[in-house]
Amino acid sequence: MGRWLAFTPLLVFAVMAIYFGMGLREDPGAIPSQLIDEPLPAFDLPPVAGAEAGLSNSDLAGHVSLVNVFGSWCPPCAIEHPMLMQIARSQIVPIYGVDWRDTPEAGAAWLERHGNPYTAVGLDPESHLAIDLGITGAPESFLVDASGRVRYRHVGIITQQDWDETLLPLIRELEAS
Protein backbone atom coordinates (compact mmCIF):
# COMPACT_ATOMS: atom_id res chain seq x y z
CA MET A 1 0.00 0.00 0.00
CA GLY A 2 2.76 2.43 1.05
CA ARG A 3 4.90 1.72 -1.98
CA TRP A 4 1.92 2.08 -4.31
CA LEU A 5 1.04 5.42 -2.69
CA ALA A 6 4.51 6.76 -3.45
CA PHE A 7 3.79 6.50 -7.17
CA THR A 8 0.53 8.46 -6.95
CA PRO A 9 2.12 11.91 -7.59
CA LEU A 10 3.87 10.51 -10.64
CA LEU A 11 0.61 9.08 -11.89
CA VAL A 12 -1.23 12.35 -11.32
CA PHE A 13 1.57 14.21 -13.10
CA ALA A 14 1.41 11.82 -16.06
CA VAL A 15 -2.36 12.25 -16.42
CA MET A 16 -2.05 16.06 -16.25
CA ALA A 17 0.91 16.12 -18.68
CA ILE A 18 -1.08 14.12 -21.26
CA TYR A 19 -4.18 16.27 -20.78
CA PHE A 20 -2.37 19.62 -21.06
CA GLY A 21 -0.17 18.27 -23.84
CA MET A 22 -3.32 17.59 -25.84
CA GLY A 23 -4.57 21.07 -24.97
CA LEU A 24 -1.41 22.63 -26.42
CA ARG A 25 -2.19 21.12 -29.80
CA GLU A 26 -5.55 22.85 -29.95
CA ASP A 27 -5.97 26.37 -31.26
CA PRO A 28 -7.31 28.53 -28.41
CA GLY A 29 -8.50 31.09 -30.97
CA ALA A 30 -10.87 28.64 -32.64
CA ILE A 31 -14.33 29.38 -31.30
CA PRO A 32 -16.87 26.81 -32.52
CA SER A 33 -19.70 28.35 -34.51
CA GLN A 34 -23.13 28.36 -32.88
CA LEU A 35 -24.77 28.62 -36.30
CA ILE A 36 -24.12 25.18 -37.77
CA ASP A 37 -27.46 23.75 -39.01
CA GLU A 38 -29.20 26.87 -37.72
CA PRO A 39 -31.00 29.34 -40.01
CA LEU A 40 -28.92 32.30 -41.12
CA PRO A 41 -29.91 35.33 -38.99
CA ALA A 42 -32.26 37.83 -40.62
CA PHE A 43 -30.51 40.79 -42.21
CA ASP A 44 -31.05 43.58 -44.68
CA LEU A 45 -27.80 45.37 -45.47
CA PRO A 46 -27.38 48.62 -47.46
CA PRO A 47 -25.34 48.59 -50.70
CA VAL A 48 -21.79 49.86 -51.26
CA ALA A 49 -21.42 53.18 -53.08
CA GLY A 50 -22.68 53.06 -56.66
CA ALA A 51 -24.53 49.75 -56.30
CA GLU A 52 -28.32 49.68 -56.45
CA ALA A 53 -29.19 46.86 -54.07
CA GLY A 54 -27.61 45.68 -50.86
CA LEU A 55 -27.93 42.20 -49.42
CA SER A 56 -30.75 40.49 -47.55
CA ASN A 57 -31.90 36.95 -46.75
CA SER A 58 -34.17 36.84 -49.80
CA ASP A 59 -31.09 37.01 -52.11
CA LEU A 60 -29.93 33.67 -50.76
CA ALA A 61 -33.25 31.82 -50.92
CA GLY A 62 -33.62 28.66 -52.99
CA HIS A 63 -29.99 27.82 -53.74
CA VAL A 64 -26.72 26.91 -52.08
CA SER A 65 -24.65 30.04 -51.45
CA LEU A 66 -21.27 31.05 -50.10
CA VAL A 67 -21.40 34.07 -47.79
CA ASN A 68 -18.04 35.79 -47.43
CA VAL A 69 -17.24 38.41 -44.79
CA PHE A 70 -14.51 40.83 -45.89
CA GLY A 71 -13.35 44.42 -45.51
CA SER A 72 -11.22 46.80 -47.52
CA TRP A 73 -9.07 47.23 -44.37
CA CYS A 74 -8.29 43.51 -44.16
CA PRO A 75 -4.96 42.37 -45.72
CA PRO A 76 -5.77 38.61 -45.63
CA CYS A 77 -8.95 39.38 -47.61
CA ALA A 78 -6.80 40.71 -50.45
CA ILE A 79 -4.86 37.43 -50.39
CA GLU A 80 -8.10 35.44 -50.50
CA HIS A 81 -9.61 37.57 -53.26
CA PRO A 82 -8.10 35.78 -56.33
CA MET A 83 -9.54 32.49 -55.02
CA LEU A 84 -13.00 34.10 -54.75
CA MET A 85 -12.63 35.45 -58.31
CA GLN A 86 -11.77 31.94 -59.49
CA ILE A 87 -14.81 30.46 -57.70
CA ALA A 88 -17.02 33.16 -59.24
CA ARG A 89 -15.70 32.40 -62.73
CA SER A 90 -16.38 28.68 -62.28
CA GLN A 91 -20.05 29.56 -61.61
CA ILE A 92 -20.35 26.65 -59.21
CA VAL A 93 -21.79 28.66 -56.34
CA PRO A 94 -22.87 32.32 -56.07
CA ILE A 95 -20.79 34.30 -53.54
CA TYR A 96 -22.45 36.96 -51.41
CA GLY A 97 -20.24 39.57 -49.77
CA VAL A 98 -20.62 41.16 -46.36
CA ASP A 99 -18.42 44.25 -46.34
CA TRP A 100 -17.64 44.47 -42.64
CA ARG A 101 -16.77 47.70 -40.78
CA ASP A 102 -16.32 49.60 -43.99
CA THR A 103 -17.58 52.80 -45.58
CA PRO A 104 -19.71 52.58 -48.78
CA GLU A 105 -16.92 54.38 -50.70
CA ALA A 106 -14.01 52.26 -49.40
CA GLY A 107 -15.96 49.07 -50.14
CA ALA A 108 -16.80 50.17 -53.68
CA ALA A 109 -13.20 51.30 -54.35
CA TRP A 110 -11.87 47.94 -53.15
CA LEU A 111 -14.19 45.99 -55.47
CA GLU A 112 -13.24 48.33 -58.33
CA ARG A 113 -9.53 47.72 -57.74
CA HIS A 114 -9.56 43.96 -57.10
CA GLY A 115 -12.58 42.87 -59.14
CA ASN A 116 -16.01 41.89 -57.88
CA PRO A 117 -16.63 38.15 -57.35
CA TYR A 118 -19.88 38.79 -55.46
CA THR A 119 -23.38 38.30 -56.81
CA ALA A 120 -24.45 40.92 -54.26
CA VAL A 121 -22.68 42.89 -51.53
CA GLY A 122 -24.10 44.39 -48.35
CA LEU A 123 -22.44 46.78 -45.91
CA ASP A 124 -22.21 45.96 -42.21
CA PRO A 125 -20.52 49.07 -40.79
CA GLU A 126 -21.50 48.50 -37.13
CA SER A 127 -20.97 44.73 -36.93
CA HIS A 128 -24.65 43.94 -36.43
CA LEU A 129 -24.67 41.01 -38.84
CA ALA A 130 -21.06 40.15 -37.90
CA ILE A 131 -22.04 39.69 -34.25
CA ASP A 132 -25.18 37.77 -35.26
CA LEU A 133 -22.91 35.47 -37.27
CA GLY A 134 -20.45 35.10 -34.40
CA ILE A 135 -17.62 36.56 -36.49
CA THR A 136 -14.22 36.89 -34.81
CA GLY A 137 -12.22 38.17 -37.77
CA ALA A 138 -12.11 38.60 -41.52
CA PRO A 139 -12.14 36.81 -43.85
CA GLU A 140 -14.72 34.30 -42.70
CA SER A 141 -17.12 32.36 -44.92
CA PHE A 142 -20.32 30.38 -44.50
CA LEU A 143 -21.92 27.76 -46.72
CA VAL A 144 -25.68 28.24 -46.64
CA ASP A 145 -28.05 25.62 -48.06
CA ALA A 146 -31.14 26.23 -50.20
CA SER A 147 -33.40 26.44 -47.15
CA GLY A 148 -31.25 29.18 -45.62
CA ARG A 149 -29.48 27.07 -43.02
CA VAL A 150 -25.79 27.52 -42.29
CA ARG A 151 -24.03 24.23 -43.00
CA TYR A 152 -20.36 25.08 -42.75
CA ARG A 153 -18.19 27.87 -41.44
CA HIS A 154 -14.70 28.56 -42.73
CA VAL A 155 -12.45 30.82 -40.65
CA GLY A 156 -9.67 32.61 -42.51
CA ILE A 157 -8.52 32.54 -46.10
CA ILE A 158 -10.08 29.97 -48.47
CA THR A 159 -7.13 28.22 -50.11
CA GLN A 160 -7.24 26.03 -53.21
CA GLN A 161 -6.90 23.04 -50.89
CA ASP A 162 -9.83 24.17 -48.69
CA TRP A 163 -11.91 24.58 -51.82
CA ASP A 164 -10.95 21.22 -53.39
CA GLU A 165 -11.09 19.11 -50.25
CA THR A 166 -13.83 20.68 -48.14
CA LEU A 167 -15.99 23.33 -49.73
CA LEU A 168 -16.53 21.88 -53.21
CA PRO A 169 -17.48 18.36 -51.98
CA LEU A 170 -19.85 19.94 -49.45
CA ILE A 171 -21.47 22.12 -52.10
CA ARG A 172 -21.98 19.07 -54.33
CA GLU A 173 -23.49 17.18 -51.41
CA LEU A 174 -25.82 20.05 -50.49
CA GLU A 175 -26.93 20.47 -54.09
CA ALA A 176 -27.64 16.75 -54.42
CA SER A 177 -29.81 16.58 -51.30
Partner: protein, 152 residues
Protein backbone atom coordinates in the same frame (compact mmCIF):
# COMPACT_ATOMS: atom_id res chain seq x y z
CA UNK B 1 -3.23 70.53 3.70
CA UNK B 2 -4.29 72.07 0.42
CA UNK B 3 -1.13 70.71 -1.24
CA UNK B 4 -1.90 67.26 0.12
CA UNK B 5 -5.43 67.33 -1.31
CA UNK B 6 -4.11 68.52 -4.65
CA UNK B 7 -1.58 65.69 -4.70
CA UNK B 8 -4.26 63.12 -3.89
CA UNK B 9 -6.52 64.53 -6.60
CA UNK B 10 -3.67 64.24 -9.11
CA UNK B 11 -3.08 60.65 -8.07
CA UNK B 12 -6.72 59.80 -8.72
CA UNK B 13 -6.98 61.74 -11.97
CA UNK B 14 -5.58 59.07 -14.35
CA UNK B 15 -7.95 56.47 -12.89
CA UNK B 16 -10.93 58.73 -13.43
CA UNK B 17 -9.85 59.44 -17.01
CA UNK B 18 -9.32 55.78 -17.88
CA UNK B 19 -12.71 54.67 -16.61
CA UNK B 20 -15.24 55.60 -19.35
CA UNK B 21 -15.11 53.50 -22.53
CA UNK B 22 -14.94 55.14 -25.96
CA UNK B 23 -18.69 54.70 -26.39
CA UNK B 24 -21.33 57.12 -25.19
CA UNK B 25 -22.06 57.17 -21.50
CA UNK B 26 -25.56 56.96 -20.05
CA UNK B 27 -26.87 59.96 -18.15
CA UNK B 28 -28.68 57.46 -15.93
CA UNK B 29 -26.09 56.24 -13.41
CA UNK B 30 -27.89 52.93 -12.69
CA UNK B 31 -28.06 52.12 -16.41
CA UNK B 32 -24.37 53.00 -16.79
CA UNK B 33 -23.46 50.67 -13.90
CA UNK B 34 -25.43 47.83 -15.52
CA UNK B 35 -23.69 48.38 -18.85
CA UNK B 36 -20.24 48.42 -17.21
CA UNK B 37 -21.03 45.30 -15.17
CA UNK B 38 -22.12 43.48 -18.35
CA UNK B 39 -18.92 44.53 -20.15
CA UNK B 40 -16.81 42.81 -17.48
CA UNK B 41 -18.84 39.59 -17.90
CA UNK B 42 -18.34 39.32 -21.66
CA UNK B 43 -15.13 38.11 -23.24
CA UNK B 44 -13.58 39.89 -26.20
CA UNK B 45 -13.61 37.24 -28.94
CA UNK B 46 -10.58 38.69 -30.72
CA UNK B 47 -8.23 39.17 -27.78
CA UNK B 48 -8.98 35.96 -25.83
CA UNK B 49 -8.22 36.87 -22.24
CA UNK B 50 -9.70 40.32 -21.92
CA UNK B 51 -13.26 41.32 -21.24
CA UNK B 52 -14.89 43.74 -23.67
CA UNK B 53 -14.58 46.28 -20.85
CA UNK B 54 -10.78 46.16 -21.07
CA UNK B 55 -10.32 45.63 -24.79
CA UNK B 56 -9.60 48.28 -27.41
CA UNK B 57 -10.39 45.93 -30.30
CA UNK B 58 -12.91 47.33 -32.76
CA UNK B 59 -15.08 44.22 -32.43
CA UNK B 60 -15.15 44.69 -28.63
CA UNK B 61 -16.27 48.27 -29.23
CA UNK B 62 -19.11 47.06 -31.46
CA UNK B 63 -20.05 44.45 -28.86
CA UNK B 64 -20.27 47.21 -26.23
CA UNK B 65 -22.55 49.16 -28.56
CA UNK B 66 -24.77 46.08 -29.01
CA UNK B 67 -24.93 45.67 -25.20
CA UNK B 68 -26.06 49.29 -24.92
CA UNK B 69 -28.64 48.81 -27.68
CA UNK B 70 -30.07 45.75 -25.91
CA UNK B 71 -30.15 47.67 -22.61
CA UNK B 72 -31.95 50.57 -24.29
CA UNK B 73 -34.41 48.07 -25.80
CA UNK B 74 -35.27 46.99 -22.24
CA UNK B 75 -33.53 43.60 -22.08
CA UNK B 76 -32.56 42.20 -18.69
CA UNK B 77 -28.90 41.49 -17.88
CA UNK B 78 -29.50 37.73 -18.22
CA UNK B 79 -31.15 38.25 -21.62
CA UNK B 80 -28.18 40.25 -22.89
CA UNK B 81 -25.70 37.58 -21.74
CA UNK B 82 -27.90 34.92 -23.39
CA UNK B 83 -27.99 37.03 -26.58
CA UNK B 84 -24.20 37.02 -26.80
CA UNK B 85 -23.98 33.36 -25.75
CA UNK B 86 -26.36 32.38 -28.57
CA UNK B 87 -23.95 34.00 -31.06
CA UNK B 88 -20.51 33.24 -29.69
CA UNK B 89 -21.17 30.25 -27.43
CA UNK B 90 -20.11 29.69 -23.82
CA UNK B 91 -16.73 31.11 -24.78
CA UNK B 92 -18.03 34.66 -24.68
CA UNK B 93 -18.93 34.43 -20.99
CA UNK B 94 -16.08 35.33 -18.64
CA UNK B 95 -17.61 33.06 -15.97
CA UNK B 96 -18.09 29.55 -17.40
CA UNK B 97 -21.67 28.32 -16.81
CA UNK B 98 -22.20 25.23 -14.63
CA UNK B 99 -23.33 22.47 -17.01
CA UNK B 100 -22.46 18.90 -18.02
CA UNK B 101 -19.24 19.74 -19.89
CA UNK B 102 -17.96 22.10 -17.17
CA UNK B 103 -18.75 19.79 -14.26
CA UNK B 104 -15.10 18.75 -13.91
CA UNK B 105 -13.98 22.37 -14.02
CA UNK B 106 -16.30 23.40 -11.20
CA UNK B 107 -16.20 20.15 -9.24
CA UNK B 108 -12.48 19.36 -9.29
CA UNK B 109 -11.38 21.95 -6.69
CA UNK B 110 -14.03 20.70 -4.24
CA UNK B 111 -13.15 17.10 -5.02
CA UNK B 112 -9.44 17.76 -4.40
CA UNK B 113 -10.23 19.66 -1.21
CA UNK B 114 -12.36 16.73 -0.03
CA UNK B 115 -9.76 14.07 -0.91
CA UNK B 116 -6.81 16.14 0.38
CA UNK B 117 -8.65 17.03 3.57
CA UNK B 118 -9.56 13.36 4.07
CA UNK B 119 -5.95 12.28 3.62
CA UNK B 120 -4.76 14.89 6.15
CA UNK B 121 -7.35 13.77 8.70
CA UNK B 122 -6.37 10.11 8.23
CA UNK B 123 -2.67 10.99 8.52
CA UNK B 124 -3.07 13.13 11.63
CA UNK B 125 -5.25 10.51 13.33
CA UNK B 126 -2.72 7.80 12.59
CA UNK B 127 0.14 9.92 13.98
CA UNK B 128 -1.83 10.69 17.14
CA UNK B 129 -2.68 7.02 17.68
CA UNK B 130 0.99 6.09 17.26
CA UNK B 131 1.94 8.48 20.06
CA UNK B 132 -0.59 7.12 22.53
CA UNK B 133 0.44 3.50 22.07
CA UNK B 134 2.79 1.91 24.61
CA UNK B 135 6.36 1.20 23.53
CA UNK B 136 7.28 -2.26 22.30
CA UNK B 137 10.00 -4.15 24.23
CA UNK B 138 12.53 -3.38 21.46
CA UNK B 139 11.73 0.32 21.65
CA UNK B 140 12.05 0.21 25.46
CA UNK B 141 15.50 -1.29 25.08
CA UNK B 142 16.54 1.29 22.49
CA UNK B 143 15.27 4.11 24.66
CA UNK B 144 17.11 2.82 27.70
CA UNK B 145 20.32 2.63 25.65
CA UNK B 146 19.93 6.21 24.45
CA UNK B 147 19.22 7.44 27.98
CA UNK B 148 22.34 5.67 29.20
CA UNK B 149 24.50 7.29 26.52
CA UNK B 150 23.15 10.72 27.46
CA UNK B 151 23.76 10.06 31.14
CA UNK B 152 27.49 9.46 30.66
Amino acid sequence: MRTLIACLALLLAPVALAAPSPDEVYADAAMERRARALYTQLRCVVCQSQSIDESNASLAEDMRIVVRERLAAGDSDAEILAYMQARYGDYVLMLPPLQANTLALWGLPFFLLFVGGGLIIVYVRRQARGMDAALTPEEEAELAELMDEEGQ
